[in-house]
């Protein structure tokens, strides 16, 4: 189709508040409220409910014409009051929709007022915690909404006067609220002050090494927006077997995939415990998934609380999972449990079993930047040919990162790399690159149908198939499952067991090194 400059046809991104809900919903006893008009919240609820197949309650300040003209203050307060009344949450995440941003409501100020009126203090244990995050969608996408919400949450808790350093520590200056508005210029200065304070503390701790020992030996893990509850469960298991003590934020493993129990609780149980979030600044390190988007919370913990941050690709596929374990073992200093060596061995076994079916198969991958990055890596190491690699988010680093990984594994391939696309341009690109398989979310089904190309569903949203919440892609087991799905899809499509292509050794040339790497870590 002709190139378009103005109209977007079939969007490949969701909006920022949606991302924030994905983050907030992984925190214990948390409700989300969108400050804006009713429709946004209902649409996003529908979208999430459809994907996770769970009830998703998201409140709205339901701005009406009056609110839009005179400001949404009263509506927001009323919304908060009603949510507290009906759901009694411990945390309320407030994300702004485009409307609230456009009319320019000062959400942190309204919250301050509200807290005063209702006599809500700043005690993280006793009081209701309200975390605002500014998420106008004309700015960025759900990816940034997720990142911003987590950053806001971590800041809120890390800056608490009740942080476990103990009461004798100099109290952080009065207005914590200033941290509410992360885009506030003053934050930068403020963070600087805090950093200095922290640095001092740390130097004290350095003198007294036992101190740190007592503090906390936990490991923080911050996942990404497109991960499934099954993925989170797998990550938790890995961390439990290796690090033992860990904090994962957010944890959607229960909240978006709740077992059927005798009662329907108002807020799905599960999610990261608040005490743990407050404890994150004391951890020995933060492991952040995703290398394309910047992980703000990880950065913040590193810069303001001296928690070393390690960003690794989402552990999808052999190489990325190897990297994940290497990083993990590097931090913890323990050997890789035999269980995972076995899983890894099984993955290798499967890769060998399937290599002929996959070699040279042309694939198109699309979705969120980091998911696509990791999927592409996996495909490259399988010997597939990702001819088209695309993301709906606008991202400066996406192209660079993808090129890098091609350089590393299969420099001879010439992929088409696109960012900020919609599905119509993806369709055009597909017709140019003629892939044999599509890998991405369910919105690619139209292209798949029209062109009769099989689609392997990964990511968010998946609306036309069952089990999105259970799709496992991370870790060696995830890789194995994905590998099976991809291969079987190809077998199904070609309906043949004989794809006579030779094996190219290049794809596995790097293998030896990686193995050594792991062994070295042990």
């Amino acid at each position: 189709m002709t190139k378009r400059n103005y109209a977007t046809v079939n969007p490949c991104v969701m909006c920022q508040p949606m991302g924030s809900a994905l983050a907030f919903k992984g925190i214990e006893n948390t409700m989300v409220l969108y400050h804006g008009s009713q429709g946004c919240s209902t649409y996003m609820r529908l979208h999430l409910a459809h994907h996770f197949r769970e009830p998703v309650d998201i409140a709205s300040s339901s701005l009406s014409e009056k609110g839009a003209v005179y400001g949404g203050r009263e509506n927001l307060k009323k919304g908060l009051r009603n949510v507290i009344n009906r759901y009694s949450p411990k945390v309320i995440g407030i994300a702004t929709t485009c409307l609230a941003e456009t009319i320019g409501d000062d959400v942190p100020a309204i919250i301050r007022e509200f807290k005063e009126e209702e006599g809500i203090g700043d005690d993280l244990e006793k009081d209701i915690i309200i975390v605002p995050v500014s998420t106008p969608s004309y700015g960025e996408s759900h990816v940034s909404g997720y990142i911003k919400a987590l950053d806001a949450v971590v800041r809120k808790f890390a800056e608490s006067p009740e942080s476990p350093e103990g009461p004798e520590k100099p109290k952080i200056p009065e207005d914590i609220e200033i941290m509410d508005y992360m885009e506030n210029m003053e934050i930068i200065e403020y963070t600087e002050i805090l950093e200095k304070e922290k640095a001092e503390e740390n130097s004290q701790e350095a003198k007294n090494p036992d101190m740190k020992e007592i503090l906390n030996r936990k490991l923080n893990l911050i996942p990404v927006e497109s991960i499934s509850p099954a993925d989170v469960r797998e990550l938790k298991e890995i961390l439990a077997e290796t690090a033992g003590d860990y904090i994962i934020l957010p944890d959607i493993s229960e909240t978006f995939d709740a077992p059927l129990r005798e009662e329907l609780p108002k807020i799905a149980p599960g999610g990261t415990r608040l005490s743990e979030i407050a404890d994150m600044p004391n951890s020995r390190a933060t492991l952040g998934l995703g290398v394309v988007s910047t992980n703000l919370a990880l950065k913040y913990l590193e810069e303001s609380h001296c928690v070393p941050g390690h960003s690794v690709p989402i552990p999808i596929g052999l190489l990325n999972t190897d990297r994940f374990f290497t990083e993990l073992i590097g931090i913890i200093g323990c050997p890789i449990p035999e269980k995972y060596q076995k899983e890894r061995g099984r993955l290798l076994d499967a890769m060998v079993d399937m290599h002929k079916y996959l070699y040279g198969v042309k694939a198109a991958v699309y979705g969120d930047p980091d998911t696509v990055f990791s999927l592409t890596t996996f495909m490259l190491e399988l010997g597939m040919n990702p001819v088209l690699v695309a993301t709906g988010s606008k991202s400066r680093d996406f192209g660079k990162r993808i090129k890098q990984i091609f350089e590393e594994i299969r420099p001879e391939l010439q992929p088409v790399i696109l960012d900020g696309i919609d599905f119509d341009s993806l369709n055009d690109a597909v017709s140019e690159c003629s892939p044999e398989i599509l890998i991405g979310n369910s919105n690619g089904r139209y292209i798949a149908k029209a062109r009769d190309i099989p689609l392997v569903r990964v990511g968010l949203p998946i609306h036309d198939r069952i089990g999105a919440q259970r799709i496992l892609t991370v870790g060696y087991r995830g890789a194995l499952e994905l590998l099976d799905r991809i291969t079987n899809t190809i077998l199904e499509a070609t309906d043949t067991f004989t794809v006579p292509v030779q094996v190219e050794p290049a794809a596995y040339a790097g293998q030896g090194e990686k193995d050594e790497c792991i062994e070295g870590a042990q």
């Binding site: 002709t2 400059n5 103005y6 109209a7 977007t8 046809v9 079939n10 969007p11 991104v13 969701m14 909006c15 508040p17 409220l33 008009s37 009713q38 429709g39 946004c40 209902t42 649409y43 996003m44 529908l46 409910a49 197949r53 769970e54 009830p55 998703v56 309650d57 409140a59 709205s60 300040s61 339901s62 701005l63 009406s64 014409e65 609110g67 839009a68 509506n75 919304g79 009051r81 009603n82 949510v83 009344n85 009906r86 759901y87 485009c98 409307l99 456009t102 009319i103 106008p136 969608s137 004309y138 700015g139 996408s141 709740a258 005798e262 329907l264 108002k266 119509d424 919105n443 139209y446």
Partner: protein, 515 residues
């Protein structure tokens, strides 16, 4: 008032929106038709959604959403309206407004986007929907559309659907306003001919069906009924319609309005403007279909038509009756909850359930008006809870309290019902089979049967494994159970067994009534 607070535990301000039918004939004051309460988690969407659901089935139109990306993204092909031809409507078009457009205005981008889309798709019509921020920054949609219409010589119609300017019903109206502009005055003014019974032999009587969106292909089961009666259906608005077929709507002799909430406004306008009268009907359930066909035949006053209608109704009813009776045997006495977007569907469902021998215990809508609720309260039994703009917590509590066996609603409600162990039937966007017409009713009955009588509800009754229970049920030996479940599980069950509350509690839920 005291009565009311007893129905369900909810916000003070929500209480007037929930009531219970008490005695026959008593008119129940129910608050409705207001903006949703902040923080109450309404199941409603916005003005835009109302407009979009009505217009979206126009198959060959470009539906351009002027606003930030999300509004368009979440409404991409969400209504399962089928098309017999072109499917431009299934794509989602957006101007994807960015910060810069918010600051400097989005008119330029909009008009460029229109030009671009006309160039690529050559649509016969473009609907331009305004979203919330457009209303705030004040883009002049009217003038952009007017200029574009002239330039491209096609109707480019503004749909004023800023989400915050009212609720879903206002969106219906905005959609009808756009449709009005599509309808062309017939060549010769036929107003004079439009009297019942005029020259039936000379010209085929012609009708429009208003408020049928061809979800899952509904219209295709309804149209043939009229064709058999010798009536031409010019257009169904808007299911499987095209710009061209809509433009001919004024040639009709009669409008049949199904989704009254959205289309009565248009029907009234057509009556005024073109002298086309309208009848409110429904094509769901044997009784309502019969009424619809009989009323139509009566309107045209042709004996032959009446006879055909009668014969057709008889054969069709006889044809599907065995299946309906079979299902009826399996579901009769079960209790149903209805929560619909519009009141028309809710009303017709009451009859549909009656035909299956089921009883309605909860009924609610997102957009009902005072008259609608009055009519609803006449049609339901005493004790039925009537609710406007319900929220998830209210629905959940009502489902349990009213001991509901089956809920009919949309996707968001589905998972509430499922979590409570209540059977569910989707009557909105997500269904894949037709529910209208005779075969549609069979589909509906089958789905109700499938959901209510699925053995999963039996499994769901015991949500925590208790080996004792399993043992007694299967009369299996002690040894066996130990082997199957091993140590850790036994421990868990011991813990659970300390909680006898669980069993008692469950007795009260809908699940238990399945036994």
């Amino acid at each position: 008032m005291i009565e009311k607070t007893g129905i369900v535990d909810t916000l003070e301000e929500r209480q007037p929106y929930i009531t219970r039918k008490q005695e026959k004939g008593q008119i129940i004051p129910l608050a409705c038709d207001n903006n949703s309460l902040a923080g109450a988690i309404s199941q409603r969407a916005c003005v835009y959604s109302g407009a979009r659901v009505v217009l979206n089935p126009v198959t060959d139109a470009v539906h351009l959403v002027h606003g930030p990306i999300g509004c368009a993204g979440y409404t991409w092909d969400i209504r399962g309206a089928k098309s017999s031809g072109i499917e431009t409507n299934r794509s989602s078009f957006s101007t994807d407004m960015k910060e810069i457009d918010i600051i400097f205005g989005g008119e330029k981008k909009l008009s460029n986007a229109i030009d671009e889309l006309v160039g690529i798709y050559c649509p016969p019509v473009i609907f331009v929907y305004s979203t919330c921020i457009v209303g705030i920054i004040g883009d002049d949609l009217d003038s952009v559309c007017k200029i574009a219409s002239k330039k491209h010589n096609i109707p480019v119609l503004p749909v004023k659907s800023e989400g915050f300017k009212g609720n879903k019903s206002d969106g219906y109206k905005a959609a009808c306003d756009a449709l009005k502009q599509l309808i062309k005055r017939p060549e010769k003014d036929k107003a004079a001919e439009k009297k019942p019974g005029v020259n039936p032999g000379l010209k085929k009587p012609r009708i429009n069906i208003l408020g049928d969106f061809n979800v899952a292909g509904d219209v295709w089961l309804v149209k043939p009924l009229f064709e058999q009666m010798g009536i031409e259906v010019i257009v169904s608005m808007t299911g499987d319609s095209t710009a061209k077929s809509i433009s001919r709507a004024a040639e009709a002799d009669l409008n049949l309005v199904q989704c009254s909430g959205s289309m009565t406004y248009l029907a009234k306008w057509m009556q005024q403007e073109y002298g086309i009268p309208y009848l409110t009907v429904s094509f769901f359930g044997i009784e309502d279909i019969s009424i619809a066909l009989r009323k139509t035949a009566e309107y045209f006053g042709s004996e032959e038509m009446k006879k055909t209608a009668g014969e057709m109704l008889e054969t069709e009813t006889n044809r599907i009756m065995p299946e309906i009776s079979r299902v009826r045997e399996r579901v009769k006495g079960k209790k149903a909850a209805i929560y619909m977007g519009g009141p028309a569907k809710a009303l017709t469902l009451i009859k549909g359930f009656a035909e299956l021998g089921m009883e309605v215990v909860i009924i609610g809508t997102q957009t009902g008006k005072k008259e609608d609720y009055e009519q609803i309260s006449y049609s339901v039994r005493d004790g039925t809870v009537i609710v406007d703009d319900a929220n998830p917590l209210e629905l959940a509590e009502l489902l349990v309290k009213q001991k509901t066996d089956l809920m009919v609603a949309g996707v968001k409600e589905r998972f509430i019902a499922y979590k409570l162990g209540v059977a569910f039937c989707d009557f909105n966007h997500d269904r894949v089979v037709e529910f209208e017409g005779f075969d549609g009713f069979v589909n509906f009955a089958k789905e109700v049967d499938a959901s209510i009588n699925s053995p999963v509800w039996k499994a769901v009754r015991q949500r925590i494994l208790k080996p004792e229970a399993v043992k007694s049920e299967r009369s299996a030996g002690k040894e066996n159970i130990k082997n199957i479940f091993g140590e850790p599980c036994a421990k868990e069950c011991k813990d659970m067994a300390v909680d006898p509350e669980f069993l008692r509690q469950n007795e009260d839920t809908a699940v238990e009534s399945q036994v």
